[in-house]
Subunit: 315 residues, 2 copies
Protein backbone atom coordinates (compact mmCIF):
# COMPACT_ATOMS: atom_id res chain seq x y z
CA UNK A 1 0.00 0.00 0.00
CA UNK A 2 1.40 3.44 -0.84
CA UNK A 3 1.83 5.73 2.14
CA UNK A 4 -1.65 7.04 2.88
CA UNK A 5 -2.36 10.70 3.39
CA UNK A 6 -3.93 11.65 6.70
CA UNK A 7 -5.57 15.04 6.72
CA UNK A 8 -6.13 16.59 10.14
CA UNK A 9 -8.72 19.32 10.63
CA UNK A 10 -6.74 21.06 13.32
CA UNK A 11 -7.50 22.44 16.71
CA UNK A 12 -5.06 23.30 19.48
CA UNK A 13 -3.43 21.33 20.96
CA UNK A 14 -2.65 19.09 17.97
CA UNK A 15 -3.11 15.34 18.33
CA UNK A 16 -0.14 13.24 19.37
CA UNK A 17 0.04 10.57 16.68
CA UNK A 18 3.44 9.15 17.70
CA UNK A 19 3.03 5.58 16.49
CA UNK A 20 1.93 6.74 13.04
CA UNK A 21 5.20 8.54 12.33
CA UNK A 22 6.59 7.37 9.01
CA UNK A 23 3.50 5.33 8.22
CA UNK A 24 1.37 8.22 6.98
CA UNK A 25 1.85 11.49 5.23
CA UNK A 26 0.20 13.95 7.63
CA UNK A 27 -1.28 17.17 6.31
CA UNK A 28 -2.79 19.77 8.59
CA UNK A 29 -5.48 22.23 7.65
CA UNK A 30 -7.77 24.75 9.18
CA UNK A 31 -11.39 25.18 8.16
CA UNK A 32 -10.52 27.62 5.36
CA UNK A 33 -8.07 25.19 3.71
CA UNK A 34 -10.19 22.07 4.09
CA UNK A 35 -11.90 22.12 0.67
CA UNK A 36 -8.55 22.34 -1.12
CA UNK A 37 -6.99 19.50 0.90
CA UNK A 38 -9.91 17.05 0.88
CA UNK A 39 -9.40 15.55 -2.62
CA UNK A 40 -5.92 14.19 -1.83
CA UNK A 41 -6.67 12.76 1.62
CA UNK A 42 -7.20 9.05 2.25
CA UNK A 43 -8.25 9.61 5.82
CA UNK A 44 -9.70 12.69 7.52
CA UNK A 45 -9.30 13.16 11.25
CA UNK A 46 -11.77 15.78 12.49
CA UNK A 47 -9.81 16.94 15.50
CA UNK A 48 -11.67 20.24 15.80
CA UNK A 49 -14.66 19.39 17.98
CA UNK A 50 -16.88 22.28 17.05
CA UNK A 51 -16.18 23.28 13.47
CA UNK A 52 -18.83 22.82 10.78
CA UNK A 53 -16.13 22.96 8.11
CA UNK A 54 -16.55 19.36 6.94
CA UNK A 55 -20.27 19.79 6.46
CA UNK A 56 -19.55 22.86 4.36
CA UNK A 57 -16.59 21.53 2.34
CA UNK A 58 -17.64 17.92 1.68
CA UNK A 59 -20.19 18.59 -1.08
CA UNK A 60 -17.46 20.14 -3.33
CA UNK A 61 -15.92 18.32 -6.30
CA UNK A 62 -13.12 15.74 -6.49
CA UNK A 63 -12.22 12.54 -4.64
CA UNK A 64 -13.05 12.21 -0.99
CA UNK A 65 -11.36 10.40 1.93
CA UNK A 66 -12.47 6.81 2.36
CA UNK A 67 -12.56 7.14 6.11
CA UNK A 68 -13.51 10.08 8.37
CA UNK A 69 -12.84 9.82 12.10
CA UNK A 70 -14.58 12.37 14.29
CA UNK A 71 -12.81 12.88 17.62
CA UNK A 72 -16.02 13.48 19.56
CA UNK A 73 -19.09 11.53 20.57
CA UNK A 74 -21.50 13.74 18.62
CA UNK A 75 -21.24 13.76 14.83
CA UNK A 76 -23.97 16.29 14.02
CA UNK A 77 -21.46 19.08 13.35
CA UNK A 78 -19.83 16.98 10.61
CA UNK A 79 -22.61 15.04 8.87
CA UNK A 80 -24.22 16.26 5.65
CA UNK A 81 -26.37 14.47 3.07
CA UNK A 82 -23.48 14.06 0.63
CA UNK A 83 -21.29 12.41 3.26
CA UNK A 84 -24.19 10.30 4.46
CA UNK A 85 -24.90 8.94 0.99
CA UNK A 86 -21.22 8.36 0.12
CA UNK A 87 -19.19 5.17 0.58
CA UNK A 88 -16.97 6.86 3.13
CA UNK A 89 -16.87 5.18 6.51
CA UNK A 90 -17.43 7.51 9.47
CA UNK A 91 -16.28 6.64 12.99
CA UNK A 92 -16.49 8.54 16.25
CA UNK A 93 -14.94 8.68 19.73
CA UNK A 94 -17.61 6.62 21.42
CA UNK A 95 -16.25 5.28 24.69
CA UNK A 96 -13.76 7.98 25.65
CA UNK A 97 -16.25 10.30 27.33
CA UNK A 98 -18.68 7.91 29.00
CA UNK A 99 -17.29 7.77 32.52
CA UNK A 100 -16.23 11.45 32.68
CA UNK A 101 -19.67 12.64 31.52
CA UNK A 102 -21.37 10.29 33.99
CA UNK A 103 -19.29 11.76 36.82
CA UNK A 104 -20.08 15.27 35.64
CA UNK A 105 -23.80 14.54 35.73
CA UNK A 106 -23.42 13.04 39.22
CA UNK A 107 -21.57 16.20 40.27
CA UNK A 108 -24.43 18.39 39.01
CA UNK A 109 -27.16 16.22 40.52
CA UNK A 110 -25.45 16.16 43.92
CA UNK A 111 -24.59 19.87 43.79
CA UNK A 112 -28.24 20.71 43.11
CA UNK A 113 -29.53 18.27 45.75
CA UNK A 114 -27.17 19.76 48.32
CA UNK A 115 -27.82 23.39 47.25
CA UNK A 116 -24.13 23.96 46.65
CA UNK A 117 -24.45 27.01 44.36
CA UNK A 118 -26.40 28.80 47.12
CA UNK A 119 -23.82 27.71 49.70
CA UNK A 120 -21.09 29.35 47.62
CA UNK A 121 -23.18 32.52 47.27
CA UNK A 122 -23.73 32.66 51.02
CA UNK A 123 -20.01 32.07 51.58
CA UNK A 124 -19.21 35.12 49.45
CA UNK A 125 -21.62 37.09 51.64
CA UNK A 126 -19.96 35.59 54.78
CA UNK A 127 -23.41 34.43 55.85
CA UNK A 128 -24.07 31.30 57.94
CA UNK A 129 -27.50 30.07 56.87
CA UNK A 130 -28.42 26.45 57.48
CA UNK A 131 -30.74 24.82 54.95
CA UNK A 132 -32.23 21.36 54.71
CA UNK A 133 -31.12 19.57 51.56
CA UNK A 134 -32.41 16.64 49.50
CA UNK A 135 -31.50 12.99 49.78
CA UNK A 136 -30.34 11.64 46.43
CA UNK A 137 -30.70 7.96 47.33
CA UNK A 138 -34.29 6.97 46.69
CA UNK A 139 -34.93 9.77 44.20
CA UNK A 140 -35.88 9.09 40.57
CA UNK A 141 -34.05 9.93 37.37
CA UNK A 142 -34.82 9.66 33.67
CA UNK A 143 -31.86 9.54 31.31
CA UNK A 144 -32.73 10.26 27.68
CA UNK A 145 -30.18 8.62 25.39
CA UNK A 146 -29.38 4.94 25.67
CA UNK A 147 -25.91 5.00 24.13
CA UNK A 148 -22.71 4.48 26.14
CA UNK A 149 -22.89 7.94 27.70
CA UNK A 150 -26.51 7.55 28.78
CA UNK A 151 -25.83 4.08 30.11
CA UNK A 152 -22.79 5.29 32.07
CA UNK A 153 -24.89 8.11 33.53
CA UNK A 154 -27.57 5.63 34.54
CA UNK A 155 -24.99 3.29 36.11
CA UNK A 156 -23.46 6.09 38.14
CA UNK A 157 -26.79 7.45 39.34
CA UNK A 158 -27.87 3.93 40.30
CA UNK A 159 -24.66 3.54 42.28
CA UNK A 160 -25.81 6.58 44.29
CA UNK A 161 -29.12 4.86 45.02
CA UNK A 162 -31.15 6.74 42.39
CA UNK A 163 -33.90 4.77 40.66
CA UNK A 164 -33.03 5.41 37.04
CA UNK A 165 -34.92 4.81 33.79
CA UNK A 166 -33.19 4.91 30.39
CA UNK A 167 -35.11 6.13 27.35
CA UNK A 168 -33.91 5.29 23.83
CA UNK A 169 -35.24 5.53 20.31
CA UNK A 170 -37.12 2.23 20.75
CA UNK A 171 -38.07 0.04 23.68
CA UNK A 172 -35.79 -2.92 24.34
CA UNK A 173 -34.34 -4.76 27.31
CA UNK A 174 -33.82 -2.27 30.14
CA UNK A 175 -34.54 0.67 27.80
CA UNK A 176 -37.86 2.50 27.52
CA UNK A 177 -39.16 3.71 24.18
CA UNK A 178 -40.27 7.29 23.46
CA UNK A 179 -43.86 6.32 24.25
CA UNK A 180 -42.93 6.10 27.95
CA UNK A 181 -41.11 9.43 28.09
CA UNK A 182 -43.88 11.77 29.27
CA UNK A 183 -45.03 9.40 31.98
CA UNK A 184 -41.45 9.01 33.24
CA UNK A 185 -40.83 12.76 33.08
CA UNK A 186 -43.91 13.46 35.18
CA UNK A 187 -42.45 11.46 38.08
CA UNK A 188 -38.75 12.25 37.81
CA UNK A 189 -36.63 14.23 40.26
CA UNK A 190 -33.81 14.39 37.69
CA UNK A 191 -34.05 14.51 33.91
CA UNK A 192 -30.77 14.04 32.04
CA UNK A 193 -30.43 14.64 28.29
CA UNK A 194 -27.59 12.51 26.88
CA UNK A 195 -28.91 11.80 23.40
CA UNK A 196 -27.27 12.45 20.03
CA UNK A 197 -28.62 15.32 17.99
CA UNK A 198 -30.75 13.92 15.18
CA UNK A 199 -33.89 15.07 13.44
CA UNK A 200 -35.86 13.05 16.00
CA UNK A 201 -34.21 14.55 19.07
CA UNK A 202 -33.86 18.18 17.98
CA UNK A 203 -35.96 20.41 20.22
CA UNK A 204 -37.43 17.49 22.15
CA UNK A 205 -37.14 19.38 25.45
CA UNK A 206 -39.67 22.07 24.72
CA UNK A 207 -42.27 24.02 26.71
CA UNK A 208 -44.67 21.09 26.73
CA UNK A 209 -42.11 18.67 28.14
CA UNK A 210 -40.92 21.11 30.83
CA UNK A 211 -44.59 21.53 31.69
CA UNK A 212 -44.94 17.78 32.23
CA UNK A 213 -42.10 17.72 34.77
CA UNK A 214 -42.64 18.13 38.53
CA UNK A 215 -42.06 21.56 40.11
CA UNK A 216 -39.29 19.90 42.14
CA UNK A 217 -37.59 18.39 39.08
CA UNK A 218 -34.16 19.40 37.84
CA UNK A 219 -32.93 19.12 34.27
CA UNK A 220 -29.39 18.48 32.99
CA UNK A 221 -28.20 18.59 29.36
CA UNK A 222 -24.85 17.00 28.52
CA UNK A 223 -25.92 15.87 25.04
CA UNK A 224 -26.17 18.57 22.43
CA UNK A 225 -27.47 22.10 22.78
CA UNK A 226 -30.30 21.88 20.22
CA UNK A 227 -31.97 19.02 22.11
CA UNK A 228 -33.36 21.86 24.22
CA UNK A 229 -35.52 24.82 23.25
CA UNK A 230 -33.46 27.22 25.31
CA UNK A 231 -36.11 29.94 25.60
CA UNK A 232 -38.61 27.36 26.85
CA UNK A 233 -36.17 26.19 29.52
CA UNK A 234 -35.52 29.77 30.64
CA UNK A 235 -39.25 30.35 30.90
CA UNK A 236 -39.84 27.07 32.75
CA UNK A 237 -37.23 28.12 35.33
CA UNK A 238 -38.56 31.64 35.53
CA UNK A 239 -42.13 30.41 36.12
CA UNK A 240 -40.93 27.69 38.53
CA UNK A 241 -42.33 24.89 36.40
CA UNK A 242 -39.14 23.11 37.40
CA UNK A 243 -36.73 23.74 40.28
CA UNK A 244 -33.40 23.97 38.52
CA UNK A 245 -31.27 23.06 35.54
CA UNK A 246 -27.71 22.75 34.31
CA UNK A 247 -26.59 23.12 30.71
CA UNK A 248 -23.15 22.07 29.52
CA UNK A 249 -24.06 22.38 25.83
CA UNK A 250 -25.79 25.13 23.87
CA UNK A 251 -27.28 25.89 20.49
CA UNK A 252 -24.47 28.43 20.01
CA UNK A 253 -21.03 27.62 21.41
CA UNK A 254 -19.21 29.40 22.89
CA UNK A 255 -22.30 30.87 24.50
CA UNK A 256 -22.24 34.60 23.60
CA UNK A 257 -21.54 36.98 26.48
CA UNK A 258 -24.89 38.67 25.91
CA UNK A 259 -26.94 35.47 26.06
CA UNK A 260 -29.69 35.73 28.66
CA UNK A 261 -28.92 32.14 29.69
CA UNK A 262 -25.91 33.25 31.77
CA UNK A 263 -28.24 34.97 34.20
CA UNK A 264 -31.29 32.69 34.45
CA UNK A 265 -31.96 32.01 38.15
CA UNK A 266 -31.59 28.34 39.00
CA UNK A 267 -29.54 27.58 35.88
CA UNK A 268 -25.93 26.37 36.00
CA UNK A 269 -24.01 27.20 32.80
CA UNK A 270 -20.77 25.35 32.01
CA UNK A 271 -18.62 25.52 28.86
CA UNK A 272 -19.06 22.10 27.18
CA UNK A 273 -16.54 20.38 29.40
CA UNK A 274 -18.45 17.46 30.90
CA UNK A 275 -16.35 14.81 29.20
CA UNK A 276 -12.99 16.49 29.38
CA UNK A 277 -10.93 15.06 32.20
CA UNK A 278 -7.15 15.52 32.30
CA UNK A 279 -5.60 13.53 29.46
CA UNK A 280 -8.77 13.40 27.36
CA UNK A 281 -7.05 14.68 24.22
CA UNK A 282 -4.38 12.01 24.53
CA UNK A 283 -7.08 9.38 24.94
CA UNK A 284 -8.77 10.63 21.78
CA UNK A 285 -5.49 10.51 19.86
CA UNK A 286 -4.70 7.02 21.17
CA UNK A 287 -8.12 5.82 20.11
CA UNK A 288 -7.58 7.18 16.60
CA UNK A 289 -4.16 5.51 16.35
CA UNK A 290 -5.73 2.22 17.44
CA UNK A 291 -8.42 2.55 14.78
CA UNK A 292 -5.80 3.48 12.19
CA UNK A 293 -4.01 0.20 12.82
CA UNK A 294 -7.25 -1.65 12.05
CA UNK A 295 -7.85 0.42 8.93
CA UNK A 296 -4.29 -0.04 7.63
CA UNK A 297 -4.60 -3.80 8.20
CA UNK A 298 -7.89 -3.86 6.29
CA UNK A 299 -9.76 -4.98 9.37
CA UNK A 300 -13.23 -3.75 10.30
CA UNK A 301 -13.27 -0.40 12.06
CA UNK A 302 -14.99 0.09 15.40
CA UNK A 303 -17.45 2.87 16.36
CA UNK A 304 -18.83 2.99 12.83
CA UNK A 305 -21.51 5.66 12.64
CA UNK A 306 -24.87 4.86 11.07
CA UNK A 307 -24.81 7.88 8.81
CA UNK A 308 -28.55 7.98 8.34
CA UNK A 309 -29.29 7.85 12.04
CA UNK A 310 -26.37 10.03 13.07
CA UNK A 311 -24.84 7.84 15.77
CA UNK A 312 -23.23 4.46 16.38
CA UNK A 313 -26.07 1.95 16.84
CA UNK A 314 -25.65 0.02 20.07
CA UNK A 315 -26.89 -3.23 21.53
CA UNK B 1 -44.32 2.85 86.91
CA UNK B 2 -45.27 6.45 87.67
CA UNK B 3 -45.44 8.75 84.67
CA UNK B 4 -41.82 9.61 83.90
CA UNK B 5 -40.70 13.17 83.35
CA UNK B 6 -39.04 13.89 80.01
CA UNK B 7 -37.01 17.07 79.96
CA UNK B 8 -36.30 18.53 76.52
CA UNK B 9 -33.42 20.94 76.01
CA UNK B 10 -35.20 22.85 73.31
CA UNK B 11 -34.30 24.11 69.88
CA UNK B 12 -36.62 25.23 67.12
CA UNK B 13 -38.51 23.47 65.66
CA UNK B 14 -39.51 21.36 68.67
CA UNK B 15 -39.48 17.57 68.34
CA UNK B 16 -42.70 15.82 67.35
CA UNK B 17 -43.17 13.21 70.04
CA UNK B 18 -46.72 12.17 69.06
CA UNK B 19 -46.70 8.60 70.30
CA UNK B 20 -45.45 9.65 73.74
CA UNK B 21 -48.50 11.83 74.46
CA UNK B 22 -50.01 10.83 77.79
CA UNK B 23 -47.15 8.48 78.58
CA UNK B 24 -44.69 11.11 79.76
CA UNK B 25 -44.79 14.44 81.50
CA UNK B 26 -42.88 16.65 79.08
CA UNK B 27 -41.03 19.70 80.36
CA UNK B 28 -39.25 22.07 78.06
CA UNK B 29 -36.30 24.21 78.98
CA UNK B 30 -33.73 26.44 77.42
CA UNK B 31 -30.08 26.47 78.43
CA UNK B 32 -30.66 28.99 81.20
CA UNK B 33 -33.36 26.89 82.88
CA UNK B 34 -31.61 23.55 82.53
CA UNK B 35 -29.90 23.43 85.95
CA UNK B 36 -33.21 24.03 87.75
CA UNK B 37 -35.08 21.39 85.75
CA UNK B 38 -32.46 18.63 85.80
CA UNK B 39 -33.12 17.22 89.31
CA UNK B 40 -36.72 16.25 88.54
CA UNK B 41 -36.18 14.71 85.09
CA UNK B 42 -36.07 10.97 84.48
CA UNK B 43 -34.99 11.38 80.89
CA UNK B 44 -33.20 14.26 79.18
CA UNK B 45 -33.56 14.76 75.43
CA UNK B 46 -30.81 17.05 74.16
CA UNK B 47 -32.62 18.42 71.14
CA UNK B 48 -30.40 21.48 70.83
CA UNK B 49 -27.55 20.27 68.61
CA UNK B 50 -25.00 22.87 69.53
CA UNK B 51 -25.55 23.99 73.10
CA UNK B 52 -22.97 23.25 75.80
CA UNK B 53 -25.64 23.72 78.47
CA UNK B 54 -25.63 20.09 79.66
CA UNK B 55 -21.88 20.11 80.13
CA UNK B 56 -22.25 23.26 82.21
CA UNK B 57 -25.33 22.28 84.25
CA UNK B 58 -24.69 18.59 84.92
CA UNK B 59 -22.07 18.96 87.71
CA UNK B 60 -24.60 20.83 89.95
CA UNK B 61 -26.32 19.22 92.95
CA UNK B 62 -29.43 17.00 93.16
CA UNK B 63 -30.66 13.91 91.35
CA UNK B 64 -29.90 13.48 87.67
CA UNK B 65 -31.79 11.83 84.77
CA UNK B 66 -31.12 8.14 84.36
CA UNK B 67 -30.99 8.44 80.59
CA UNK B 68 -29.73 11.21 78.32
CA UNK B 69 -30.43 11.01 74.59
CA UNK B 70 -28.42 13.34 72.37
CA UNK B 71 -30.14 14.04 69.04
CA UNK B 72 -26.89 14.24 67.07
CA UNK B 73 -24.06 11.94 66.08
CA UNK B 74 -21.40 13.87 67.98
CA UNK B 75 -21.65 13.95 71.79
CA UNK B 76 -18.65 16.15 72.59
CA UNK B 77 -20.83 19.21 73.24
CA UNK B 78 -22.68 17.32 76.01
CA UNK B 79 -20.14 15.09 77.75
CA UNK B 80 -18.39 16.15 80.97
CA UNK B 81 -16.42 14.13 83.56
CA UNK B 82 -19.33 14.09 86.02
CA UNK B 83 -21.73 12.67 83.40
CA UNK B 84 -19.08 10.22 82.19
CA UNK B 85 -18.51 8.82 85.69
CA UNK B 86 -22.23 8.68 86.57
CA UNK B 87 -24.61 5.74 86.15
CA UNK B 88 -26.65 7.67 83.57
CA UNK B 89 -26.95 5.97 80.19
CA UNK B 90 -26.14 8.22 77.23
CA UNK B 91 -27.39 7.45 73.71
CA UNK B 92 -26.98 9.29 70.42
CA UNK B 93 -28.52 9.61 66.95
CA UNK B 94 -26.09 7.24 65.26
CA UNK B 95 -27.63 6.05 61.99
CA UNK B 96 -29.79 9.02 61.00
CA UNK B 97 -27.05 11.01 59.30
CA UNK B 98 -24.91 8.34 57.62
CA UNK B 99 -26.31 8.35 54.10
CA UNK B 100 -26.94 12.12 53.91
CA UNK B 101 -23.39 12.90 55.06
CA UNK B 102 -21.98 10.38 52.59
CA UNK B 103 -23.88 12.06 49.76
CA UNK B 104 -22.70 15.46 50.92
CA UNK B 105 -19.08 14.30 50.84
CA UNK B 106 -19.63 12.84 47.35
CA UNK B 107 -21.10 16.19 46.28
CA UNK B 108 -18.03 18.05 47.54
CA UNK B 109 -15.56 15.57 46.03
CA UNK B 110 -17.26 15.69 42.64
CA UNK B 111 -17.69 19.48 42.74
CA UNK B 112 -13.97 19.90 43.42
CA UNK B 113 -12.98 17.30 40.80
CA UNK B 114 -15.15 19.04 38.21
CA UNK B 115 -14.08 22.58 39.27
CA UNK B 116 -17.70 23.57 39.86
CA UNK B 117 -17.02 26.57 42.13
CA UNK B 118 -14.89 28.10 39.38
CA UNK B 119 -17.57 27.33 36.80
CA UNK B 120 -20.10 29.29 38.87
CA UNK B 121 -17.64 32.20 39.20
CA UNK B 122 -17.09 32.24 35.44
CA UNK B 123 -20.86 32.08 34.89
CA UNK B 124 -21.30 35.21 37.02
CA UNK B 125 -18.70 36.89 34.81
CA UNK B 126 -20.48 35.57 31.68
CA UNK B 127 -17.21 34.01 30.63
CA UNK B 128 -16.89 30.82 28.57
CA UNK B 129 -13.64 29.20 29.65
CA UNK B 130 -13.13 25.50 29.05
CA UNK B 131 -11.02 23.64 31.59
CA UNK B 132 -9.94 20.03 31.84
CA UNK B 133 -11.24 18.39 35.00
CA UNK B 134 -10.29 15.35 37.07
CA UNK B 135 -11.61 11.84 36.80
CA UNK B 136 -12.92 10.63 40.16
CA UNK B 137 -12.98 6.92 39.28
CA UNK B 138 -9.51 5.54 39.93
CA UNK B 139 -8.57 8.27 42.40
CA UNK B 140 -7.70 7.50 46.03
CA UNK B 141 -9.42 8.57 49.21
CA UNK B 142 -8.67 8.22 52.91
CA UNK B 143 -11.64 8.45 55.27
CA UNK B 144 -10.69 9.08 58.89
CA UNK B 145 -13.38 7.76 61.20
CA UNK B 146 -14.61 4.19 60.95
CA UNK B 147 -18.06 4.65 62.50
CA UNK B 148 -21.30 4.49 60.49
CA UNK B 149 -20.72 7.91 58.90
CA UNK B 150 -17.17 7.09 57.83
CA UNK B 151 -18.24 3.71 56.53
CA UNK B 152 -21.13 5.25 54.55
CA UNK B 153 -18.73 7.82 53.07
CA UNK B 154 -16.35 5.03 52.08
CA UNK B 155 -19.16 2.99 50.53
CA UNK B 156 -20.38 5.95 48.48
CA UNK B 157 -16.92 6.91 47.26
CA UNK B 158 -16.23 3.29 46.32
CA UNK B 159 -19.48 3.25 44.34
CA UNK B 160 -17.98 6.13 42.32
CA UNK B 161 -14.89 4.04 41.60
CA UNK B 162 -12.67 5.69 44.21
CA UNK B 163 -10.16 3.43 45.95
CA UNK B 164 -10.95 4.19 49.56
CA UNK B 165 -9.14 3.39 52.81
CA UNK B 166 -10.83 3.71 56.21
CA UNK B 167 -8.78 4.71 59.26
CA UNK B 168 -10.06 4.05 62.78
CA UNK B 169 -8.71 4.13 66.30
CA UNK B 170 -7.22 0.64 65.88
CA UNK B 171 -6.53 -1.65 62.95
CA UNK B 172 -9.12 -4.34 62.32
CA UNK B 173 -10.80 -6.02 59.34
CA UNK B 174 -11.02 -3.47 56.49
CA UNK B 175 -9.96 -0.64 58.82
CA UNK B 176 -6.47 0.80 59.10
CA UNK B 177 -5.03 1.86 62.43
CA UNK B 178 -3.53 5.29 63.12
CA UNK B 179 -0.06 3.91 62.36
CA UNK B 180 -1.00 3.79 58.65
CA UNK B 181 -2.45 7.30 58.49
CA UNK B 182 0.55 9.30 57.31
CA UNK B 183 1.45 6.79 54.62
CA UNK B 184 -2.16 6.82 53.34
CA UNK B 185 -2.36 10.62 53.48
CA UNK B 186 0.79 10.94 51.37
CA UNK B 187 -0.89 9.12 48.49
CA UNK B 188 -4.49 10.33 48.76
CA UNK B 189 -6.36 12.52 46.31
CA UNK B 190 -9.15 13.01 48.87
CA UNK B 191 -8.90 13.14 52.65
CA UNK B 192 -12.20 13.05 54.52
CA UNK B 193 -12.46 13.70 58.27
CA UNK B 194 -15.53 11.93 59.70
CA UNK B 195 -14.30 11.08 63.18
CA UNK B 196 -15.86 11.93 66.53
CA UNK B 197 -14.16 14.65 68.57
CA UNK B 198 -12.21 13.01 71.38
CA UNK B 199 -8.96 13.79 73.10
CA UNK B 200 -7.25 11.54 70.56
CA UNK B 201 -8.71 13.21 67.48
CA UNK B 202 -8.64 16.87 68.55
CA UNK B 203 -6.30 18.83 66.30
CA UNK B 204 -5.20 15.74 64.38
CA UNK B 205 -5.25 17.64 61.07
CA UNK B 206 -2.43 20.04 61.80
CA UNK B 207 0.34 21.66 59.78
CA UNK B 208 2.41 18.48 59.79
CA UNK B 209 -0.42 16.36 58.39
CA UNK B 210 -1.32 18.90 55.69
CA UNK B 211 2.39 18.89 54.83
CA UNK B 212 2.31 15.13 54.32
CA UNK B 213 -0.52 15.38 51.77
CA UNK B 214 0.03 15.72 48.01
CA UNK B 215 -0.15 19.19 46.41
CA UNK B 216 -3.09 17.85 44.39
CA UNK B 217 -4.94 16.55 47.47
CA UNK B 218 -8.23 17.96 48.70
CA UNK B 219 -9.48 17.82 52.26
CA UNK B 220 -13.07 17.60 53.55
CA UNK B 221 -14.23 17.87 57.18
CA UNK B 222 -17.73 16.66 58.03
CA UNK B 223 -16.80 15.45 61.52
CA UNK B 224 -16.25 18.11 64.13
CA UNK B 225 -14.54 21.47 63.72
CA UNK B 226 -11.76 20.95 66.28
CA UNK B 227 -10.43 17.91 64.43
CA UNK B 228 -8.73 20.54 62.29
CA UNK B 229 -6.24 23.24 63.25
CA UNK B 230 -8.02 25.85 61.16
CA UNK B 231 -5.08 28.26 60.87
CA UNK B 232 -2.91 25.38 59.64
CA UNK B 233 -5.46 24.49 56.96
CA UNK B 234 -5.71 28.12 55.83
CA UNK B 235 -1.92 28.27 55.58
CA UNK B 236 -1.73 24.93 53.73
CA UNK B 237 -4.20 26.27 51.13
CA UNK B 238 -2.48 29.62 50.93
CA UNK B 239 0.93 27.99 50.35
CA UNK B 240 -0.56 25.43 47.97
CA UNK B 241 0.51 22.47 50.10
CA UNK B 242 -2.87 21.07 49.11
CA UNK B 243 -5.19 21.96 46.23
CA UNK B 244 -8.47 22.57 47.99
CA UNK B 245 -10.69 21.93 50.98
CA UNK B 246 -14.26 22.03 52.21
CA UNK B 247 -15.31 22.54 55.81
CA UNK B 248 -18.86 21.90 57.00
CA UNK B 249 -17.91 22.12 60.69
CA UNK B 250 -15.87 24.65 62.63
CA UNK B 251 -14.29 25.26 66.01
CA UNK B 252 -16.80 28.11 66.47
CA UNK B 253 -20.32 27.70 65.07
CA UNK B 254 -21.93 29.68 63.59
CA UNK B 255 -18.69 30.75 61.97
CA UNK B 256 -18.32 34.46 62.86
CA UNK B 257 -18.75 36.89 59.98
CA UNK B 258 -15.24 38.20 60.52
CA UNK B 259 -13.57 34.78 60.39
CA UNK B 260 -10.80 34.72 57.77
CA UNK B 261 -11.97 31.23 56.77
CA UNK B 262 -14.85 32.67 54.68
CA UNK B 263 -12.33 34.09 52.23
CA UNK B 264 -9.56 31.49 52.00
CA UNK B 265 -8.99 30.72 48.30
CA UNK B 266 -9.78 27.11 47.48
CA UNK B 267 -11.89 26.60 50.61
CA UNK B 268 -15.61 25.82 50.50
CA UNK B 269 -17.43 26.87 53.70
CA UNK B 270 -20.84 25.40 54.51
CA UNK B 271 -22.97 25.83 57.65
CA UNK B 272 -22.90 22.40 59.36
CA UNK B 273 -25.61 20.97 57.15
CA UNK B 274 -24.04 17.84 55.66
CA UNK B 275 -26.45 15.45 57.39
CA UNK B 276 -29.59 17.51 57.19
CA UNK B 277 -31.81 16.31 54.39
CA UNK B 278 -35.51 17.18 54.31
CA UNK B 279 -37.26 15.42 57.18
CA UNK B 280 -34.12 14.93 59.30
CA UNK B 281 -35.68 16.43 62.42
CA UNK B 282 -38.65 14.07 62.16
CA UNK B 283 -36.26 11.16 61.75
CA UNK B 284 -34.43 12.23 64.89
CA UNK B 285 -37.70 12.50 66.83
CA UNK B 286 -38.89 9.11 65.54
CA UNK B 287 -35.61 7.54 66.61
CA UNK B 288 -35.98 8.97 70.12
CA UNK B 289 -39.57 7.72 70.40
CA UNK B 290 -38.39 4.26 69.33
CA UNK B 291 -35.67 4.29 71.98
CA UNK B 292 -38.15 5.55 74.57
CA UNK B 293 -40.31 2.48 73.97
CA UNK B 294 -37.30 0.28 74.73
CA UNK B 295 -36.46 2.28 77.86
CA UNK B 296 -40.04 2.24 79.16
CA UNK B 297 -40.17 -1.54 78.62
CA UNK B 298 -36.92 -1.98 80.53
CA UNK B 299 -35.18 -3.31 77.45
CA UNK B 300 -31.60 -2.50 76.50
CA UNK B 301 -31.18 0.81 74.69
CA UNK B 302 -29.43 1.09 71.36
CA UNK B 303 -26.68 3.55 70.37
CA UNK B 304 -25.28 3.53 73.89
CA UNK B 305 -22.31 5.88 74.04
CA UNK B 306 -19.07 4.70 75.61
CA UNK B 307 -18.78 7.73 77.85
CA UNK B 308 -15.02 7.41 78.32
CA UNK B 309 -14.33 7.15 74.59
CA UNK B 310 -16.97 9.67 73.55
CA UNK B 311 -18.79 7.66 70.89
CA UNK B 312 -20.76 4.45 70.30
CA UNK B 313 -18.23 1.64 69.84
CA UNK B 314 -18.84 -0.24 66.62
CA UNK B 315 -18.00 -3.65 65.20
Amino acid sequence: MPTPTLLVLDAEPLPRLGRLTGRVRVEHTDAAGLAAHLPRADVLLVWDLTSHAVRDAWPGGGPRPRWVHIASAGVDHVMCPELASSDTVVTNARGVFDQPVAEYVAALVLAMAKDLPRTLELQRARTWRHRDTRKVAGSRAVVVGSGPVGRAVARTLKALGVTTALVGRAARARVHGPEDLDRLLSRADWVVAAAPLTERTRGMFDARRFGVMQPSARFVNVGRGPLVVEEALAEALDKRWIAGAALDVFAAEPLPGDSPLWGVPGLIVSPHMSGDTAGWRDELAAQFVEFFDLWAAGEPLRNVVDKQRGYVPGP
